[in-house]
Symmetry: C4
């Protein structure tokens, strides 16, 4: 565990992570995956007790500033009122971190919005047979397939976080790779910010592939 005084956004460790997340926001905003004040990003900076550095609520992700981040605990609460307000979806970040994620990235792309709205009725979207699947953590052959769960969009983040926790612990078919919220966007994660960025890039690429295939050939 880091000494408490390193858990501030001005320490060396968090400085580096903040720069990484600022750069991440700049790239995602540029690609149109984090427009308006959509999206939020976090990284674990301590495990005992669980402590996350995350984007504050309502800031432009393409031009994040160091003072627009906040430290939250395992209950998604900020220990210091001087910090900006955490994202309304902070509990989704903490539940993913509690189950092992080192960094969580939420993006909000056109393809993710449209596909998640359409496939909500099926509970998810199957993506199979593409080489790019090998870019997802834990997949080693392009013959694999990924099932991307879709959950209804909700303002009751606490309830959704509970469901996500149960799905992650599901002994039969646990949630993997990431999930979509219908008409909203993608949550995915990795052991580091770089690993989570790869997950975002792979999944957003596959959403584009699925979309383009449907437009060209009429089927998914």
């Amino acid at each position: 565990m880091l000494p408490e005084d390193t858990l501030t956004p001005t320490s060396g460790q968090t400085d580096f992570l903040i720069r990484e997340l600022i750069e991440c926001g700049r790239d995602f905003h540029h690609r149109g995956w984090s427009l308006g004040t959509s999206s939020n990003y976090s990284v674990v900076i301590d495990r005992e007790p669980l402590t996350l550095l995350m984007t504050g609520s309502g800031f432009d992700k393409g031009r994040l500033q160091p003072d627009q981040f906040v430290i939250v605990d395992e209950n998604a609460q900020s220990p210091d009122k001087a910090f900006p307000k955490p994202s309304a979806e902070a509990q989704l970040h903490t539940v993913l971190a509690q189950h092992g994620a080192g960094a969580v990235l939420h993006t909000h792309s056109v393809a993710g919005t449209v596909l998640s709205e359409h496939f909500l009725k099926d509970g998810g979207l199957k993506i199979a047979g593409y080489e790019m699947l090998k870019g997802l953590a834990g997949i080693t052959t392009h013959e694999s397939e990924a099932w991307i769960e879709i959950h209804a969009n909700t303002q009751d983040i606490a309830a959704l976080a509970k469901v996500i926790g149960e799905r992650l612990r599901d002994p039969a078919i646990p949630l993997r790779h990431g999930f979509l919220m219908a008409g909203h966007g993608l949550y995915t994660w990795g052991e580091s910010i770089a690993a989570a960025r790869r997950q975002v890039e792979v999944l957003e690429f596959l959403f584009e592939v699925v979309t383009q295939k449907r437009l060209l050939f009429g089927s998914f």
Copy 2:
């Protein structure tokens, strides 16, 4: 009210706002929302009397220079002949400012052009059920919907400005969020340049979503 000598494009306050609008133009041009000499942007720099800083007519928005801005009064007239000519659409900016806008951004995207031409017959475009709607000022739940009014394109800007003023003051269902001019583009606003940029990003994102949904599934 600011002393009159601060109301020049070389004062500290306007320097900052000019840099903000130059950066805004660079980003919108890059995204293809402000190509050619389309688009115009303004920000209120005084309320009594109403004074706006806005882009001059006919300049490239991707490479705006500080001397390509102009100060206009509440009648959209420039007090100084040394300034560039104000945009032909300056009166749309002033009427929006008179009704509370702190900054007005007009963009000209492919999606906005095509959708506004098609939906003019309906008087507007309803967008409902998307999380991104929460990014619009005054909307707090994704279950809300936004009605984006569409007005016929016209060269009679004075007449359109009058209509927009009436719509903004409409006691029953006042104009909100922004409006489209058919075959032309979007006007939206916010209390600051940053707030207006968010409105642009949210609305242009939603136009893309609506377009992509129609292409994929045949309905809006």
Copy 3:
């Protein structure tokens, strides 16, 4: 007429124009309008005798270097063997310059390629009713329409240059705005590099609008 020694790519005047065209190439390459070694750009640097500065043949337009430009005379010949080889399409630039163009830009976009191939049978493409048309030189109201001529692609540039010259001088309905070569791309021009860039941006935007309208609503 400029003294002869100013007509070299190292003089102050041409230095500035070279930087403008390098920046132009970077932007067009970025947008996907000048990929591979496609496209070529020129600017008039003298009228008597007619002298153009233009891109040499076969260079990457996204990373043009000052020594990749060439000076050509009214016959599209380079006076100095030390220069790179002029573009194979140099005569299209000189004929446009002889009829008044100050700068000529040729781009090669996906939309321009596909539309020009399809509409060659009609001899051109009518674009009407869009506000963006006002960005074309000589159009002052959005109620106007532009007819963009399409010529068959050819390796016989001399013959095509002759046809273009005749079309520019046509007393009845002279060629205006620009023209497409089928399956190839756009030629347009202006009194300066900046003016020609605006023409490119306006026309490429309108090609995108026409394309998107057809995809969404099945008609042009």
Copy 4:
């Protein structure tokens, strides 16, 4: 042959080539052709014995660092365990280099992925009549056509490399221009990194053209 001590990523020659490949990765990542950890790039740094500088396995192509490259021999083996692991597809690079390629670039675009999956049944994709074809090495008129072979995707890179070698040596109709792996992406090459980049840009542009033509007019 270069002295052995120049064959390290820190020598002057390789420094330059590494910078070229880093810049290439940044551009391709930006365009969405090298997302996640997809893609790999190589350049020949010696012919006797054949020695390639190539991207290591699993790195982000948009932010390549000098220590993420590796030297491999003609058997796609790295002489030094201190290097990162070569790409799993290193043998495709070496077989192309053995047949004359000076640089090999593998990209992974949406259009390449979707088209290659669809046309695998035909063994390839014919692209004809476009001016942009002239940008491919060895094509001198736009009336030519290019046949882009498609091979089934496989994890058995050694077997595929053998097939590619046979196709390159085929006395009747040898493999030219590049090839697609189904649901995966493009391999192409040139005598230098710049020449190979041009091949990538030309082929990816043509994949976009073919896609857009099909979407607009229902046929390829």
